[in-house]
Symmetry: C2
Subunit: 328 residues, 2 copies
Amino acid sequence: MKNVDGHHLTERGIIGELRRIFNSPPPPAGMGDDCSVIGKGPGALLLSTDMLSESTHFVAGMTWRERGRMAVSVNLSDIAAMGGRPVALLISLGIPPDMDATAVRRVAAGIAERAAEFGVPVTGGDTKRTGELTIAVTAVGRAGRRLLTRGGARAGDWIAVTGSLGGAAAAYSAWKEGRRGRPLTALTSPEPRVREGMALSDSGMVTAAIDITDGLAASAWYISRASGRRLEISRELIPVSRALEESGADRDALEEALIYWGGDYELLFTARTRRSVDELAARLETPLTVIGRVGAGSGVYLNGERRRRLDERGYDAFQAMEAAEGRN
Amino acid sequence: MKNVDGHHLTERGIIGELRRIFNSPPPPAGMGDDCSVIGKGPGALLLSTDMLSESTHFVAGMTWRERGRMAVSVNLSDIAAMGGRPVALLISLGIPPDMDATAVRRVAAGIAERAAEFGVPVTGGDTKRTGELTIAVTAVGRAGRRLLTRGGARAGDWIAVTGSLGGAAAAYSAWKEGRRGRPLTALTSPEPRVREGMALSDSGMVTAAIDITDGLAASAWYISRASGRRLEISRELIPVSRALEESGADRDALEEALIYWGGDYELLFTARTRRSVDELAARLETPLTVIGRVGAGSGVYLNGERRRRLDERGYDAFQAMEAAEGRN
């Protein structure tokens, strides 16, 4: 998309503009967080909406079923990021004229299957004719014991992540090299961390959380800005996915994938004590790894052989598309 | 869209299939109603989602601003149909690569303007790159004193509508004849009956309601099926919009437009007493007109020079597109 001067706008630029046009005052948890929040305290309503479309969000190797599953996963991840329990899904399915009914059924089956795996009913929606397959999902959730926002990190908190990072980046590389099947799982069948998010909320010890689908650096920056604190991350503590480790990427490419590439459906969070992270880890199957500390000040820093301030950038759907034009 | 046998599927056919796939038990008010309902009683949560896309839902004469406005109106109408008070809007905006920033801003301004007119904050959303302009809106509402569903009509109730019918059909004809501007208002700038819906709910006397964007016959059939009652409508009582009356359509075309064409954002409802309709009318600026009675039995009948059972058909976005293929 070009702006009036012919320059390309980034997604963040557009969202910033739209927020001004919509005149949304940033509420306690508003457009800046993964969900909109209505009400207060445990049980407050969480709403997330996301639209995926054929030309932008699905890689060519994905099955119809995976397309449906992913549309649900994206939204469940937003509920998870705020520690919520998903309670309902609404689906708007945009179906192009030349799509055959079997394919539509498979997309729907993928949606239904994913929803059922997380015990969430599909309570409404509609179908529309559109120029390309478009799946818009709205997920409704209820806040847990503590509503997790991006704005609660305090100096002295510990920074941790669920799972490992870089799996989606490695899968994308594999896909570009023409590999298909299992190596792409991280890209085509992401696992939203719903149970993990609920456990973080219920612990009462987690002060801020976000999903890192935009990339680790971008997500850490969101927390840093919303909390008004500095995040210090140790390079050697970041859990690297096996697929990325084995990808043969050189040091720089690996770090770019780990820090700036997005697509991993993991949670980045801050907790008051190291012990609370350990206690949470003991209750979950998914590994939790402490990767740093919150301090006074601002910005996001990576400590390793050399300490540096991370760029405030990450996975941007618009830029990625500019780069990948002609993919397929 | 073709089904496996090469036949064309209607929207209703697809929704029926998807409902089976999603395995949604029809809840007290579920996929069949205009909104999904979460919770019970006054204050229950109403959720509506609708997706509009460039190739299907916008006529060529519409401005960008009108496109944004309409996406909001469609969803507010669903909240209105259940007697709810809209409390929040979530917007997913799909922006094609070649759309310029000024146009995007105008769409967003239309959304913001419409939301503000009804006092509803835009609390969240996202932007995505898509192949064509796509606006998916989720409206959140709270139930009023009485939740209005399609299923509450009882024998002896009075059937009434807000406003007048056929305006959208007349505007569509005008548009096909190449006319632009004011004659198209009913099509390009529909007025959702939010205040009216809230008044119906608060009266405590309204037993069922629906918006008639799918057409009068289809909407009456929805109430008939959901309530297990027969609807008897008097042809001469139906309030005909001035635009349709002056359109020069012959008798048959006029009746087709009035009964089967959709696009009018009016409410069809049933009330316990005629007096309650009059009392409501006295409190609203929008006219309310009694057009018939509910009886025991099933089906929808039109009484006039000759009595006949109305077909269970109406405006179908999929069929309309088949018919209008190649339009502009």
